[in-house]
Symmetry: C2
Subunit: 333 residues, 2 copies
């Protein structure tokens, strides 16, 4: 069958542009034993994918030039040569940016369509939700009454991380980039405070004013100057989960900032970088908790859904200007 796919045409130099991507037609071969043929329904675009577009070594392998971008995707089974899947099943997996694709059965997880909207499997019930769960519960470990700050708070991970901190009865402060996002964090997601860093120049004193008892845990999705301001307000024995650094992904060189090591020393601070894969042996536990909380209405979610396969590159680029409210999803028509 004839399919459309989007490949990495060139490696971005700094901020990615549409010209780094190329759309192609391709003839798909027939499937073998143990494989399924899929039709893409929803694609996820995530900031970590920027790192995979570089040539340099990181925690995930680099995308190859002239090959399709690969990302999380919800798809429908069109043809199956695996006993585990039948036509009409919905699955989630890491799939090429293509209208249709062939996948090995063992690389897919079948979706229970009764639990939540299909696209939630790319967000709160997928990698971003698990990332928020393990970063918050295993690194930030907030206690009741403690102050937790979350940067990138209105993103796919931040929204979930903040709500989990609220379930632990912490005082939760979100940092986001528009007034609309801040309003949403407070009114819909129960954050105690939210700061728009684009209208309010973040300084050590601003954070100190909003967190009068200091900061006990910091869930960082952003890095750069925002993190410098939060670090200056961390308490003795505080914990920092370094989950993302979106302010740095498109820089050619790391930002130059005041050293944080003296602060880490004098306050016995724990800083732990992580990727969700570090907790892969416990995905079942995390998924069970998230599913339960979503069913009970204790966790809410928000998506920005863009229509059309051809909008994938643009939606990806929009992550870096913060156009998404919650999880950025591309729905294939």
């Amino acid at each position: 069958m004839k399919i459309t796919q989007i490949v990495l045409a060139s490696r971005p130099n700094g901020l990615p542009v549409l010209e780094n991507f190329r759309t192609e037609e391709k003839e798909l071969k027939s499937i073998n034993e143990g494989e399924v043929l899929l039709g893409a329904c929803f694609f996820s675009v995530d900031p970590y994918m920027r790192g995979r577009m570089n040539d340099s070594k990181s925690y995930a392998a680099s995308y190859e030039l002239n090959n399709p971008i690969v990302g999380a995707c919800v798809a429908r089974v069109i043809e199956s040569r695996s006993p585990g899947f039948t036509i009409g099943d919905f699955v989630v997996g890491y799939l090429p940016w293509a209208t249709n694709s062939i996948a090995k059965a063992e690389a897919l997880r079948k979706i229970d369509t009764h639990l939540a909207p299909l696209s939630y499997n790319l967000g709160i019930l997928g990698m971003p939700g698990l990332t928020a769960y393990f970063g918050m519960t295993e690194i930030c470990k907030p206690k009741a009454g403690e102050t937790v700050v979350i940067s990138g708070a209105a993103g796919a991970v931040g929204i979930v991380a903040g709500q989990i901190a609220k379930l632990r009865e912490a005082y939760v402060v979100g940092i986001a980039g528009t007034d609309e996002k801040c309003k949403l964090l407070k009114e819909q997601f129960g954050f105690d405070e939210a700061i728009n860093y684009k209208t309010l120049q973040l300084t050590d004193k601003i954070i100190a004013g909003i967190c009068p008892k200091g900061v006990d845990a910091y869930y960082d999705n952003v890095g750069g100057e925002i993190s410098s301001s939060v670090f200056a307000n961390l308490n003795f024995h505080s914990r920092v989960a370094v989950c993302g650094q979106i302010s740095q992904y498109n820089r050619l060189k790391p930002a130059i900032v005041p050293t944080i090591l003296p602060e880490i020393l004098t306050k016995s601070i724990l800083v732990q970088g992580f990727i969700v894969g570090n907790f892969s042996s416990r995905f079942g536990e995390g998924f069970a908790h998230l599913t339960q909380w979503v069913k009970e209405g204790k966790l809410k979610y928000k998506e920005t859904i863009v229509q059309g396969f051809d909008k994938l590159p643009e939606a990806f680029l929009d992550l870096f200007s913060g156009k998404n409210l919650g999880k950025m999803i591309i729905e294939v028509g």
Copy 2:
């Protein structure tokens, strides 16, 4: 009785100078029930004391102006009104910079004089030894064959930390500030490599050349540019114990360096600041291990002993130009 003491005359602005200290005579009152009268034998000067000379909040309370500096001291009991101590006992405790002082019995630890030289109770069998023990075994956690880098390696803590890493069969690289120190680290303390950062400008590439398999654990006593070069070479799942930041203690503002958060993220690095007091419930265990290793000859030690009570301020200042080889000790005549 008439005693001599050294007080903090003014707070240092940047690098301390002799004028920040003042020597005074004072009349000591007689001792009360539960107290002992002590004659100072050995004083310890340690870099962390610089922080206590500032007005600002840190993990240890600020020294008060016109009051004696307080630090670790080995002293001899001259008079006792406590059943736990008799004349001639040697003790270690936090005591004022004074030729004689009065202390409450419960604030002192009696020294077993058969174990090691008296002054070792201020170093390898004291706070610096315990600091090295817990930082290396509880944070750096080196495995056999892993690469461990130690900054300030020829200091009171670094020498012990490196030898403990060698007991764990790691490949151990020390960073120090003179060729003599580097020679000592390799020839007497079993370090695999030692780098003089004053003759060899440390860069990411220099560290990469000396640590071809990358760095699995970093025991940091120094901070600043040295730490930036080491951070660039840290491996996935590496551990950093932030024990000291001597390059920063005399700065009025923190150094400006490339942000380390992206590195921490992409390599799932753990960075833990600590002070030895965080492990106070386990001092017995640490002391037992250190004592055993010293007795068995598995841990060696080195001291720079300065003669004369009046040399205390100068010896303290010399820490910041690295004049000490191993532990800096002042012996009271």
